[in-house]
Amino acid sequence: MFSRKILVITAATTGLFLGIGIYTFLYAKGYSYITDDPEACANCHSMNPQFNGWIKSSHRSAAVCNDCHTPQGAAAKYYVKASNGFWHSFYFTTGWYPDNIEIKQSNIDVADDACLKCHQDIVDMMKRFKDNNEKISCVRCHTSVGHFD
C-alpha cells in the first residue's frame, strides 16, 4: 500500500521529468546537442558566457566544447553526454542552478584528461615517471584556455 503510493509518485514524477525533458529537448533545439557543434551548446543562454569566451580563446580553432568536456572513447563520451544532458535539461527547465555555474570535480577530471588527447607529447617529461605517479592537474594553471568568462 505504502510502497505502491511511492511507486505511483515515482512514476508520475518520472513521467513529468521525461515530459519536461522531451519538451526542453525539442524546444531548446536539444537535438543539436548530440552533435559536436559549439553552437549547439550555446543554444542555451546558460552556456553563452563560455561560448563567448571560447570564441576568443586560443582553442577556438583547435578544440570544440566536446573535445574538452567529454571523455575519450565513444561509449564513455555518450554516457557523459547523456548524463550531463539529462541534468542540463532538468536544471535549465527548472531554473535551479546558480547564476555562476560551478563545475563538478568529475567534470574537471574529464577536462584534465582531455588535454592529453592533444598534448600528450609536450607533457611527456612532466608525466613520465612511473605508473603510480599521481597525475598533475593541467587546469590548475591553465584554467582559462577553453574560455575566459
Partner: protein, 425 residues
C-alpha cells in the same frame, strides 16, 4: 520555463510611464523597471554577517523617534569607541549601518542630532536630493546644494522625501549612470587636478566602467564640512590614501572637535570605502563596487544588476564566483581570514589609543602645560585618524587587506611616539 524566457528576452523594457528629470518617486520609475524596483525595495532586509550586514533590534517607538527597529549599537559592542570619541556626537549614538531603505530615517532619528545641531549638508548622502537641489537652485544643482548646506538640518529635512532613489544614480532618458552629487564632482576635480588633469568633469569624462564605482563614491567616502558655509568637501587635494588625507587636514589645520579628555584637536574619519577600495588589488584589477555589491543576476533570460545592494557575503555565488572558482564556504573563509587579521590589529590599536588618552589625561590633570602636552596631542590626533580610517571603513579590511594592516601599524607607532613624548618631557 523556457517559453517564458524566450518571450522575456524580447520585451525587456515596458515603457509604461514617461520619466523625466523631475520624476523623483522610485515607485514611478519602477513601473518601467519592475525587476530593478523589486530588488531595490529589498534593501530593508537585515541579516548579520561576521563583521557586516546588520542586526534588526526591536525598540519601542517614541514620538521623538518612531523607529520600531534599529541596527545594533557599535558603542555597546565596543565601549572603547566612546573614549576615542569623547566629546563628539559619535560617542552618544553610533550604530552598524544597514540597507539603503533606512538611510533617511536613521539620519533623522540618530541621537547625534540631539547631541549637536547638524547642518542641512548632511542631506547630501542620505536622501534623494537631486530634484530638491535643482528646485532650490532654480535649475542650478550647485546653487541648490549651497543653499541646503546652510540650512539647519530640520529645515532641510522638509525638502526631501526619499532615501537614495533611481534619479540619484540614473539619467532618466538614457538610464545611464550619472553623478548627481556636487561634493563628488568637486572632489574628483581637485583629485584629478593634483594628478595634472585640468577641468575634469566626471559626467562627461568618466568611462561606463568607472561609473560603476563612482556612483557609490558619491557617498561612501571620508568628508568634512568646510568653513562657515558648511560646504561638503572631500579631502582629496593630495590624493586618496589615508596619509594624503591626513596631510591635507594638517595643512588646512582642520579639527572635527576637541577631545574631551585630552584637549587634543582631533579628526574623525567616516566610511572611506571608496578611498580604501582604491588601494586594493580589486580596484587595481578593474573590479568595481557594483561588481560585488550589485552583481548581475539572472531573471529568466535576462541579466540584470541586483539592486538589492548588500553585503556580498550574503550573495557569494553571484558576487564572487563569476571570477573565483572556489566554493562558497572557501570564499567566505578567505574573507574572514582577512577580516580576523584586521580585527586583531584594530583591537591592539584600540587598547593602545585608550592608554594614550589616559596618559595625556593624567598628565593634564597633574598640571602639565599645553606646550608640554603639544607633542603627545599631535600624535594622538594622527594615531586616532589612522585607526578610525580602518575602523570606519566598513569592510573590516577586505577592500584592501595589506593597506588596512599598514595603516593600523602606523597608528600604533604614533601612539608609541605619543607615550614616549609624554614621559620624556
Amino acid at each position: 520555463n523556457i517559453f517564458e524566457r524566450k518571450q522575456e528576452a524580447k520585451n525587456i523594457f515596458y515603457k509604461v510611464e514617461d520619466i523625466t528629470d523631475t520624476t523623483e518617486s522610485p515607485e514611478i520609475w519602477g513601473r518601467n523597471f519592475p525587476l530593478q524596483y523589486d530588488d531595490y525595495l529589498r534593501t530593508v532586509d537585515q541579516v548579520r554577517t561576521k563583521y557586516g550586514g546588520s542586526e534588526a533590534l526591536p525598540r519601542t517607538p517614541s514620538q521623538a523617534d518612531p523607529r520600531s527597529i534599529v541596527a545594533h549599537s557599535r558603542l555597546e559592542e565596543d565601549p572603547r569607541l566612546k573614549t576615542m570619541w569623547a566629546g563628539y556626537a559619535f560617542a552618544r549614538d553610533f550604530r552598524e549601518e544597514r540597507g539603503h531603505a533606512y538611510m533617511l530615517d536613521d539620519q533623522t532619528f540618530t541621537e547625534r542630532q540631539i547631541a549637536a545641531k547638524q547642518p542641512g549638508t548632511c542631506m547630501h548622502c542620505h536622501a534623494s536630493v537631486y530634484v530638491p537641489y535643482k528646485k532650490l537652485g532654480g535649475g542650478d544643482l550647485i546653487k541648490g546644494f549651497e543653499k541646503m548646506n546652510q540650512m539647519p538640518y530640520p529645515e532641510a529635512r522638509k525638502f526631501v522625501s526619499h532615501p537614495v532613489a533611481c534619479i540619484d544614480c540614473h539619467d532618466p532618458n538614457s538610464m545611464q549612470l550619472r553623478i548627481t552629487r556636487p561634493a563628488f564632482i568637486e572632489g574628483m576635480r581637485t583629485l584629478k587636478a593634483a594628478q595634472g588633469i585640468k577641468n575634469y568633469d566626471v559626467n562627461t569624462m568618466a568611462t561606463r566602467q568607472e561609473m560603476r564605482a563612482f556612483v557609490c563614491g558619491q557617498c561612501h567616502v571620508e568628508y568634512y564640512f568646510k568653513g562657515q558655509e558648511k560646504r561638503l568637501t572631500y579631502p582629496w587635494m593630495q590624493g586618496l590614501k589615508a596619509d594624503s588625507i591626513l596631510s591635507y587636514y594638517e595643512k588646512v589645520k582642520f579639527d572635527d572637535w576637541i577631545h574631551a579628555e585630552t584637549g587634543a584637536g582631533v579628526i574623525k574619519a567616516q566610511h572611506p570605502e571608496f578611498e580604501m577600495w582604491n588601494q586594493g588589488i580589486h580596484a587595481r584589477s578593474g573590479v568595481k563596487c557594483a561588481d560585488c555589491h550589485m552583481p548581475y543576476k539572472r531573471v529568466g533570460a535576462l541579466k540584470i544588476s541586483d539592486h538589492h545592494v548588500q553585503s556580498p557575503i550574503l550573495n557569494i555565488n553571484r558576487a564572487c564566483q563569476t571570477c573565483h572558482k572556489w566554493d562558497e564556504n572557501e570564499l567566505k573563509e578567505r574573507v574572514e581570514i582577512i577580516q580576523d587579521r584586521t580585527f586583531r590589529l584594530r583591537g591592539i590599536a584600540m587598547d593602545a589609543i585608550i592608554s594614550l588618552v589616559q596618559d595625556i589625561k593624567k598628565a593634564k590633570e597633574s598640571g602639565k602645560t599645553d606646550a608640554e602636552l603639544a607633542a603627545a596631542r599631535s600624535y594622538q590626533r594622527k594615531a586616532q585618524f589612522y585607526l578610525d580610517f580602518v575602523e570606519a571603513e566598513n569592510s573590516m579590511g577586505f577592500h584592501a587587506p595589506q593597506e588596512a594592516a599598514r595603516i593600523l601599524g602606523e597608528s600604533i607607532n604614533y601612539i608609541r611616539l605619543g607615550q614616549v613624548a609624554l614621559r620624556d618631557k
